[in-house]
């Protein structure tokens, strides 16, 4: 049996939720939450935590190199964040770019893209 301690972030109460897993990583118990939303949150955090990655890439503009804010259009699995940063670091784009432009397709996972989050002329 393994237990995992989490803080529920769904509301400011910030309940400490404990998730108990068996040897096969199957959830057998969730305790500590004050409401059902805490349980849903805890299960997703333990089974497949995902995060939206935001960063910057270099954009070549007529006024020289600038920093272009970028993000993933869907959350990616948390353990892939550093691998994702390696791809971000290698990405260079040339203006013009518009908010929402896809910079890297199938980023980390099929169907997830790295997109621009600002306009550069």
């Amino acid at each position: 049996m393994i237990t995992k301690e989490l803080t529920c972030v769904v509301c400011p109460a910030g309940c400490k939720v404990t998730v108990t897993l068996d040897e096969n990583n199957q959830i057998i118990d969730v305790t500590g939450q004050t409401c059902p939303r805490g349980k849903t949150y805890a299960i997703s955090e333990v089974t497949n935590p995902v995060r939206t990655l935001t960063s910057t890439v270099t954009v070549q503009t007529k006024d020289g190199a600038k920093m272009l804010p970028v993000r993933t259009d869907k959350p990616i699995p948390r353990p892939t964040l550093f691998e994702a940063m390696e791809i971000v670091r290698r990405t260079v784009v040339t203006a013009p770019v518009k908010t929402g432009d896809v910079l890297v397709e199938n980023f980390i996972e099929e169907g997830i893209n790295l997109i621009a989050s600002k306009d550069f002329e």
């Binding site: 109460a13 960063s55 993000r71 948390r78 306009d119």
Partner: protein
Amino acid sequence: MHKKLIIIGGGPAGLAAACAAVKRGLSPDDVLVLERDSEPGGILNQCIHAGFGLHRFGEELSGPEYAGRYIQMAREANIPIMTNCMVLGLTNDRQVTFVSPELGYVTATADAVILAMGCRERTRGALNIPGTRPAGVYTAGCAQRYINIEGFMPGNRVVILGSGDIGLIMARRMTLEGAKVLTVCELMPYSGGLARNIVQCLDDFGIPLRLSHTVTEIHGKERVTGVTIAKVDEANGRKPIPGTEEYIECDTLLLSVGLIPENELTTGAGISLDRMTNGAAVNQFRETEAAGIYACGNVLHVHDLVDYVSEEADIAGTHAAATILGETEKTVKSVKVTTGFGVRYTVPERIDITETAEAVRVFFRVTDVYKKVQLVIESESGEVLVKKAKSAVAPGEMESLEIPADKVAALAASEDKKITVYLRELGGSK
């Protein structure tokens, strides 16, 4: 130069106020937004992380995306925005002086002025940490600008003092960029940051948060070589406890110790500030004590969600336009809003009830973390005007209550001169 409406600051507050004023009926040619930076958008331009706009647009946007939406709206409404335009002075009778590269030194008058200058970070000077003054000490927002706009990393081994949201966001940002964030020290026994940021910016990367800790000394001659941290005594004015000192080797110290509204222009116009918000005291339309001068966004009080900034700017912009168009009602009675148990400040600080009494939403911050409470607004004569139960409240998250229109009307008819916002504990531990 004369304009019907001049807005100082082209951040989300200024842009939303301008859009609201035009929507209310002002011609865009009668409106002018003055922005000192080379582009509009305000501080959100450097807040590249996601989490903005959930309330406003129903989706999670990054800071530049959120700002971009308002820049777009202002452009579509043909609202003139003058960039590189620094406002130097404001008077009580709405004279605005500014400098611009095209026009030079200009004095303009306006029927109404909306203050939307945002806030700035508290700096170390306000904190007085002993030790040398080497390079490598930055505010978290300054580091955010270096990394996200200028594209360079200010350091490799980082200690962060203060667990405000900007500091937490920077802990994650610098970690993802390859730096080692050693610890975040927080003077208080709880963090002022959102729980979501503690989890996703610290816990995700195993960065320890040390509550009731502070930095007692900064080491290094040219560059920071380390800091000394210590536990503080809650019972003794949060003084460092001798013997708990710990030396941490690092090359960078980030300060995330709070924001203060940027109100030099406001005080220059003789408008007094609310001691708790550090912003002007306003009525429910966000009008200050000076007629025709409004304030909204972070210059009025520090918001944690930009969505509320936009909402507040809507109120100010709409009412300023209505006043200019001569379409507002007379005030029949003014009522003070005061704070009671557990409430640090409210916005507005007064309600100017008009002939047709309308519902009023009062925003406020609590003083401490409380569980199982009731939020209450009570009249001077003891009538509960509105109440709401909450499982938990924290100083980091703004609360609000709406006084219904019929209660506002009843207030106008009563003898009461003030109302009080307070917390009632419903049992359970603090």
